[in-house]
Structures are given as structure tokens and as C-alpha cells.
């Protein structure tokens, strides 16, 4: 950090800064009267841009005009039929006709009158062709963008058995439409802004007016506005720029590619940030409890969901502590192991040359490497890797005398446990924290494990996500809010929203009480 500051103060300029400065001179230039001059300016801005098309034509045989668009971003077929055809075929054109009246002649739903050269560039870059007419100080931008997009698919990282199978895509408009189809009420607001000097990425802040607290909306907007970056390629860029504690291993902004998850967060009074170019949307604020809530919890019946949620809590601890507890007990507290088990472990460990800690490290690191390799490798190689991986952390490792069979078991259960966390980001942070706790357990035994847990809990207590305590509803304890933490309350009892996000408005009530179903009593 300091290093860069020093360089800057000495007057050093990054090359990118120089370019942006030449571009930043443009906004002052309004559209000139002379068409040629305008085109000259634009052409100089788009030097060496082979994909920009300047199509000059005449309206009513006399008035010169130009159509400017980026090839591949606009629907040329529609432009030909709905824009060029009517204009070119005009027999007479009064040069005094205002640009607004010209735009009314166009059979296109989305038409915008623009005033400056920067606006022209902006419109072209998002795929809207622009028409400039000689002797006019305004231009027309035509909303006919079209580019290749991916179809809506089942989200791969967050698949469910029961629940909608649609996921967000890379196109912002499709994503907003997916949200709007779930929440039709006009209270769903979508504020748009642009971030990134070069990418000019469109970012939308979505929230439900009247549920989300105003301070939260303001805070999210502020933090987004503060960002000065040259490009946003994925929501991860923004996530890191708006976090509360950048050094925390825990994610403080949720990300999802499921419209139903985003919609349910909106209904709980959270803010959803949609970013063009990525299927992953951000949800703020995020609490620790929400990392352990899977979308399917809310679609299955509540008894099953509660059971699965508890299973998840149990395996959360296994994922975090199993190897360290094994190491601690086996190197410091052998008397804690049931006799028969200790004898079996002693048998299997007899020919292992490494201490338990090293053994655990070998296996855990191998497992992490295999997991990473499994994701990165092309599909054709993937099968081979999984076979080799099974051998490496399986029977072969035991027979080779590198690790004991008990350790294989521990690593395997830990590996499975970490994938029980529905949020991939949370799973990663747990897997990462496992290693320092393992070292502590190797040095101090169970005492070290406890120290590690205490450190994590203290850390969790200190961090906040957009003003909401990370352990909200557990610490500070809000018994009422535990209805969606300890259990998953049935929908007829989920009568209030989480307090953290919507308390300010006093708008906690989600639905009326007394909706518990049952057979109708008496009567016909």
C-alpha cells in the first residue's frame, strides 16, 4: 500500500491514467452542428477499432446523417428495417424538423435523445446504435442491442433436488427479468450505476422499498460509489471492495446464482447487487447463520429441514475440527480413546514413520490438492484424476505405509463434511482454518484446539457485515430470530422477518399469525 502511495506522490503516472485523461476531456464536447466534425471526433476516439461501423446516409435525399454502432452488439436486421428504411425512403425532409420529431418516426420502442459525444460513446458501447444528423446538436440512440447470450440453466454450484432449476446468466437484463418475475410488486427497486473505468460495468442495486432499511441501502450505495477501479469482471471484484473486514477468512457478502435465493433475501430486507457479465449476484448483509442455510431448507417440509440443518451444524464442526482433534488426542491424550480403538489405531500406526501431525498434514494437503485438481482439470482428464486420487488417499497410501488407515478415515469424513456447507465460500474458509488449528493441536493438544476455537469465536463476534453483527441472533442473542437458525420454523410460523435488516422501519411482520393448517372444525 505505502509503496504505491510514495510512487504517486513523486509524480509518477500509470500509463492507464494518461489514456483515461484524454478520454475524460470528451464529456465537455457537445454534439456539433457539423456532422463531419462529430464523426471526426468519434473516429479519433475509436481509432483502430475495426468493430465500429460508421454508416453515412441521407434523409430525404438532402440531409446528411450517420448511423454509428458496434458490429455484433446491435441488431442490424432490425436497424435496417425499422430505422434506415423509413429514414432513407423519406421523400422530403424539412431540415428544421427537431430531432425529437425525427425520433417519433422510428418504429422502435426504446429511443433516447442524447446531447454529448460521451453519451454517444456510452450508448454505442452498450449496443445502442446512434443516429447523428447534420446541423443538429442532438443525436438519437436506438435501443436495439443484441448479442449472443447463454440460455438459462440449472445453477451448477447450487443445485437442489426440490426447487426452481433456473439460474442467473451473464446478461444483466435477463437477470433483472428473472428477479422481476419472482417479485412483481413495484416496491422492488433496481437502482443502476456504472463501475469500472474501462469495462463500464453496469451494476444494479435491488431492494424492496419498505422492507430493506434505508441506512442499509444508503450504505451499500455509498460503498459501491466509492469504488474506483478500471474493470469489474466478476462479482468477486466488488465483493472485495465493499467488505467490512478484508482480512477475515469468512465471507461477509453472500453470493448466489439462484434467483430464488436472491428473491428470498430481498423479502428478508437485504440488498441484492446484480453485476453485468456474471451469473453471481451479491447479497448484503450476510450473517454466519445464513452461510449454513441452503435454499432447499425452505422448500422441504420443516421437520426434514430442521434435521438436515442440524446435520449440517454437526458436520460443520467435523469439517473444522476432526483432524485436529484426532491429532491432539493421539499425541497428548491417549487415555481418552476407548481401549479397543486405541489398540487398533496403535496397530495401524505401528509402521508409520511420521508423527500424527505430519501424517494429518500430508493427507489434508493431498486432499485439498485433489479437490482443486478435480475442478481445474478438463473433463476428459478428470476421471483419471479421481481414480488416482482414490488410490492416493485410500488403500494404497495405507499399504505403502505412509498413513494409517484411521487417518484416511478422518480425512475422508472431513472432506465430505466440508462439502455439506451449502455456500462454497464458507466451505473454503472452514477448510483453510483447519490448518492453523491442526498446528495448534499438534503443539498444545486439546488445549490448542480450544485456543483455536476461542480465537475463531472471538473473531466472529467482532466482525460485522454492513452494520449487522456477523453472529446476529446468536450473539447478540435474539431468541425470536433463532426460528431460522436452530430450527427452520414452518412457514405458517415464520411470521416475522429477521430483525437485523428491517427493524428500523418497524416492518417486521411478514404475514398474519394463526395460519397453522388443519382440518376445518365442525360445520358442514
Amino acid at each position: 500500500m505505502n509503496y504505491f502511495k510514495h510512487r504517486k506522490s513523486k509524480g509518477y503516472r500509470f500509463p492507464s491514467q494518461q489514456i483515461t485523461e484524454t478520454l475524460s476531456k470528451l464529456p465537455n464536447i457537445p454534439i456539433n452542428l457539423g456532422l463531419n466534425q462529430n464523426i471526426q471526433i468519434l473516429k479519433s476516439a475509436y481509432t483502430d477499432c475495426s468493430d465500429v461501423v460508421f454508416r453515412e446516409f441521407t434523409i430525404g435525399a438532402r440531409t446528411k446523417a450517420a448511423l454509428i454502432y458496434i458490429d455484433g452488439l446491435s441488431n442490424t436486421q432490425e436497424i435496417d428495417q425499422q430505422v434506415l428504411m423509413p429514414l432513407v425512403q423519406l421523400e422530403s425532409f424539412d431540415p428544421e424538423t427537431s430531432i425529437e420529431n425525427v425520433s417519433k418516426k422510428l418504429a422502435v420502442s426504446d429511443v433516447l435523445v442524447i446531447n454529448t459525444i460521451t453519451d454517444v460513446i456510452k450508448q454505442i458501447s452498450i449496443g445502442n446504435p446512434v443516429i447523428l444528423i447534420n446541423n443538429k446538436i442532438k443525436g438519437i440512440s436506438i435501443g436495439l442491442p443484441k448479442w449472443e447470450k447463454r440460455g438459462i440453466e440449472d445453477p451448477v454450484a447450487e443445485s437442489v433436488i426440490r426447487g426452481p432449476r433456473e439460474g442467473f446468466v451473464e446478461t444483466l437484463r435477463v437477470n433483472t427479468s428473472l428477479l422481476r418475475r419472482k417479485i412483481r410488486h413495484p416496491a422492488l427497486k433496481m437502482k443502476q450505476m456504472t463501475i469500472g473505468k474501462f469495462t463500464e460495468t453496469q451494476v444494479i442495486i435491488a431492494y424492496i422499498e419498505g422492507i430493506a432499511s434505508n441506512t442499509l441501502i444508503k450504505e451499500v450505495t455509498n460503498r459501491l460509489e466509492r469504488i474506483e477501479i478500471d474493470g469489474i469482471l466478476e462479482s468477486g471484484y466488488i465483493e472485495e471492495m465493499i467488505e467490512d473486514d478484508p482480512f477475515s477468512p469468512f465471507p461477509q457478502v453472500l453470493s448466489t446464482e439462484r434467483p430464488d435465493v436472491a428473491a428470498s433475501s430481498l423479502l428478508e430486507g437485504r440488498v441484492v447487487i446484480l453485476i453485468d457479465g456474471t451469473p453471481f449476484t451479491l447479497i448484503a448483509p450476510c450473517t454466519f447463520a445464513s452461510l449454513l442455510q441452503a435454499p432447499e431448507d425452505y422448500y422441504n417440509r420443516f421437520l426434514i429441514s430442521t434435521f438436515i440443518r442440524w446435520l449440517r451444524y454437526l458436520f460443520f464442526f467435523i469439517a473444522l475440527l476432526a483432524p485436529s482433534a484426532y491429532v491432539a488426542i493421539l499425541t497428548y491424550h491417549q487415555e481418552m480413546v476407548p481401549s479397543s480403538l486405541l489398540l487398533t489405531i496403535a496397530q495401524s500406526r505401528e509402521q508409520i514413520p511420521f508423527p500424527a501431525l505430519i501424517e494429518a498434514f500430508i493427507m489434508e494437503i493431498t486432499f485439498e490438492a485433489l479437490r482443486e485438481a478435480g475442478i481445474r482439470l478438463p473433463k476428459q482428464v478428470g476421471a483419471a484424476v479421481s481414480i488416482v486420487g482414490a488410490l492416493v488417499i485410500g488403500q494404497a497410501a495405507t499399504t505403502a505405509g505412509l498413513v494409517s488407515s484411521a487417518m484416511v478415515m478422518v480425512v475422508a469424513i472431513t472432506g465430505v463434511a466440508s462439502f455439506l456447507l451449502p455456500r462454497y465460500a464458507a466451505g473454503i474458509s472452514i477448510r483453510m482454518l483447519r490448518f492453523p488449528i491442526m498446528i495448534l493441536s499438534g503443539i498444545l493438544g486439546l488445549l490448542g484446539v480450544m485456543l483455536g476455537i476461542i480465537a475463531i469465536v472471538v473473531h466472529l463476534c467482532t466482525i460485522r457485515s454492513f452494520g449487522v453483527p456477523y453472529l446476529n441472533s446468536m450473539a447478540p442473542l435474539k431468541i425470536h430470530n433463532l426460528k431460522d437458525v436452530l430450527i427452520r420454523a414452518p412457514w405458517w410460523a415464520m411470521n416475522t422477518r429477521p430483525e437485523s435488516t428491517s427493524i428500523e422501519l418497524g416492518n417486521l411482520q411478514r404475514q398474519p399469525h394463526d395460519q397453522k393448517p388443519g382440518p376445518s372444525k365442525g360445520g358442514d
Partner: protein, 402 residues
């Protein structure tokens, strides 16, 4: 410039904090032991050696890795090399242990020691000093089971049971079945230091193995009655039957089968004990110390070879009376031996008197061994027969006529 200093200071503080953390970690590792470096002791035996010395024998587990897992089922019969027994002599157990350590490559680990066997000779000489090691050392389990063996304890450790992995497991499983007394180091030490000053410890005898041709000379330990200690010295033995008798007043009779023979018929009724509760009710009047052993037991009939129809109220009452008789007879048998012969209060009478008459007890505490002899014991036994089973009288009669 100020900012620079502040930054230096901040750096300095974080460095100190980091050092503090590292210092914390430096305290670790001192007692780290891998399982590979442990001699896991499964059972311990203490014998009287010549002169004033004792002999400490330990059964150490040999962690031989399983043979590639394929022929485990076949080789499990031959478990002769799963454990080894080593012994060393010394004036105290701790002394013997240090000598023993010289003979073992791995550190002696008491944490899994679940069985302590005391040789008869040592038991007769007194065990109080040796039990102290088990209570004082941090590693041994206080919940280890204690036994007194007929032969030397070492011999018991060396024996090879057929069904279980080793003799330690064999003995432990036997006492867990709740048919005899179960005494742990902790309860033994409580019994010895308590006011009664007496204890019972399961008695280990040996039986010959089932397959003599293969396992010749290998004896199998089993439990046969109990040894009775007064003070910390063994004063006598109770047979199996007498041991059962002392379980009732001690409120330890929780399971078992009682078989009753009818006088007028050569046939038997066997009853299974479901639940029992015993209470000692002490009473001191005019200097006469007496105690009432109150027993409340639930039983079920599991076999009936007699002509008695148990659904009949009359015969059921008769059976109840006889069960009461049998239980009281057993109690009397044990009592007479312990009270009159050995003068060892193994029933917890002392504690009962102390609870109900704390004042008198304080004064008479020192005369207890005299008083105990004269305590008048009465019995009040209540028996419920919960289930009589299906009465198949006719089938039996038919069978007999044929």
C-alpha cells in the same frame, strides 16, 4: 514525521503481540508422545516376592499390524502373540516400575490399564500401600477393576483366554456381567478408608481350557467368589454362593437366576431377577445395635418343571414364600461367615449406622469391630412375581403319561 513514528509504534506493538503468541506456542510439545512410542499396559499384577520386595508384572499390548487384512478371520484364533508380560521387582510399585521401564523400549503408559490383579500372598500381607500408587500417580485409571488371584498375578496375566483378546479383557467382561461383585481401585480405596474398614474383591481362579489337546497347560482365569479384606489385609474367602448372598445387602444384586426346589416334589422353578432394591435400616435401642435388611425384588418365572399352576393365587403365594426363604437363606449364609468368622463389615453396616445415629457413632466408632460382631440382623424381604410365563401344564402332563 509524526505519522511515521506512529506507524513505527504500531509495527512495534504488533511485533510484540506476535512474539507473545509465539511464546505461548513454545510452551507446547513437552509431553507429546506418539502412540508408536507407548507401551500400552492392559493389565497389571502385583505379587509378593521374596524378602520385602514386590513383583510388578504388566501385560503390554504388542501393536503388530494386521496382516494386510485378507486372512484376518483365519488367523484370529492364534492370538498368542498379541500381548507380552514383563515383570520387575522393587520395594514399592513405583520402584518396580522404574526397573520395569529399563526392560521396555517404549514408555510405560498406564492410561489404558483397566485391570489390577493382586496376588493372594500380597493381599494377605496388606495392599493399602500399593493402592496408594494408583490413587497418587496421574496416569493409571481409578476405574480399573481390582482382583485377587489364587495363583500369582503374573500367572493370571500370562494365561490366554479362548474367547477374549487377552486375560485383562476376560476378567473385565466377567465382572461387568454383574453376577459377582465389581470393585474398582476407587471404590476399593473408599472401602478401605471408610469406617467399616473392610472390602470384598473378586477372586480369580483358573480353569482348564475347552480344547485340552491344543491349548495344553494354558489356563483360563475366571471369577470364583470373592476375597474379604479387613483393614487392608485379606482375612478369608467367600464361595460363589456366599458372594451372591452379600450382593443383596450391598444393593448390588441386579440380575441373576434363582432356582427353587420344591420339598414335596423333585422339580424346580427358575426365576429371573428383574429388579431389586435393598435398604439397610439400622436401629439402636438400649445399647442393642440391630439392623434390618429390607429387600424388594421383582422376578419373572422362566422355567417351571413342577406341577404348580402359577396362575393360581395359592400356589403363587407359596412360590413367593419360598423365594423369600431362598433369598434370606443366602443372605444369612454370607452374613454368618463375614460377621462371625471374619469379622469384616463388608455390607456397609457402618455407613448405615453413621448416617442414622451420627452422635452415637462418633462415640462408639473405635469399638466398631467389637460391636459389629454383636449386631443383630433381621430380614424383611418382599418379592413380586411379575410374569409367570405361558402355563403349559397340560402339555407337560401329557408328556409324562406317555
Amino acid at each position: 514525521m509524526m505519522g511515521f513514528f506512529r506507524r513505527r509504534k504500531k509495527k512495534y506493538i504488533s511485533l510484540v503481540l506476535l512474539l507473545c503468541l509465539i511464546i505461548l506456542l513454545l510452551a507446547g510439545c513437552w509431553d507429546r508422545t506418539e502412540v508408536n512410542d507407548l507401551a500400552i499396559i492392559l493389565a497389571t499384577g502385583v505379587d509378593q516376592s521374596k524378602k520385602e520386595e514386590i513383583e510388578l508384572s504388566v501385560q503390554v499390548f504388542i501393536p503388530k499390524p494386521a496382516e494386510s487384512g485378507q486372512q484376518e478371520g483365519v488367523s484370529s484364533g492364534n492370538n498368542s502373540s498379541q500381548t507380552l508380560v514383563r515383570s520387575a521387582k522393587g520395594v514399592t510399585i513405583a520402584d518396580a516400575m522404574s526397573r520395569l521401564q529399563e526392560k521396555l523400549t517404549r514408555r510405560i503408559f498406564w492410561g489404558q490399564n483397566e485391570v489390577l490383579i493382586i496376588g493372594e500372598k500380597l493381599a494377605e500381607k496388606g495392599i493399602g500401600d500399593h493402592i496408594d500408587f494408583w490413587m497418587g500417580h496421574t496416569e493409571p485409571r481409578e476405574r480399573a477393576d481390582v482382583f485377587v488371584s489364587m495363583d500369582s498375578a503374573k500367572e493370571v496375566l500370562e494365561s490366554m483366554p479362548e474367547l477374549e483378546r487377552d486375560s485383562a479383557k476376560q476378567l473385565r467382561k466377567l465382572v461387568d456381567s454383574q453376577i459377582g461383585v465389581k470393585v474398582t481401585v476407587k471404590s476399593l480405596s473408599e472401602m478401605l478408608t471408610g469406617d467399616a474398614g473392610a472390602a470384598v474383591i473378586p477372586w480369580v481362579a483358573k480353569m482348564s481350557p475347552s480344547n485340552l489337546a491344543v491349548n495344553k497347560g494354558k489356563n483360563i482365569p475366571f471369577i470364583k467368589g470373592a476375597a474379604v479384606l479387613r483393614g487392608d489385609k485379606m482375612v478369608g474367602r467367600l464361595s460363589d454362593k456366599e458372594t451372591r448372598g452379600i450382593l443383596w445387602p450391598r444393593n448390588e444384586a441386579k440380575s441373576g437366576i434363582i432356582t427353587i426346589s420344591l420339598k414335596d416334589e423333585k422339580a424346580f422353578v427358575s426365576l429371573n431377577l428383574l429388579r431389586s432394591h435393598n435398604q439397610l435400616i439400622p436401629k439402636i435401642s438400649n445399647g442393642n445395635w440391630s439392623i434390618k435388611v429390607k429387600t424388594d425384588a421383582d422376578l419373572e418365572v422362566i422355567q417351571n418343571t413342577t406341577s404348580l399352576n402359577l396362575l393360581n393365587l395359592k400356589s403363587s403365594k407359596k412360590l413367593k414364600r419360598m423365594v423369600v426363604q431362598v433369598i434370606e437363606e443366602r443372605e444369612r449364609l454370607a452374613l454368618s461367615k463375614a460377621q462371625k468368622k471374619m469379622n469384616a463389615d463388608i455390607f456397609g453396616f457402618a455407613a448405615a449406622f453413621q448416617r442414622d445415629y451420627p452422635g452415637t457413632w462418633k462415640k462408639k466408632k473405635n469399638e466398631w469391630s467389637e460391636i459389629f460382631r454383636k449386631v443383630d440382623v433381621t430380614f424383611e424381604t418382599k418379592v413380586n412375581i411379575r410374569r409367570t410365563g405361558l402355563s403349559n401344564e397340560k402339555a407337560k402332563k401329557g408328556g409324562r403319561e406317555r
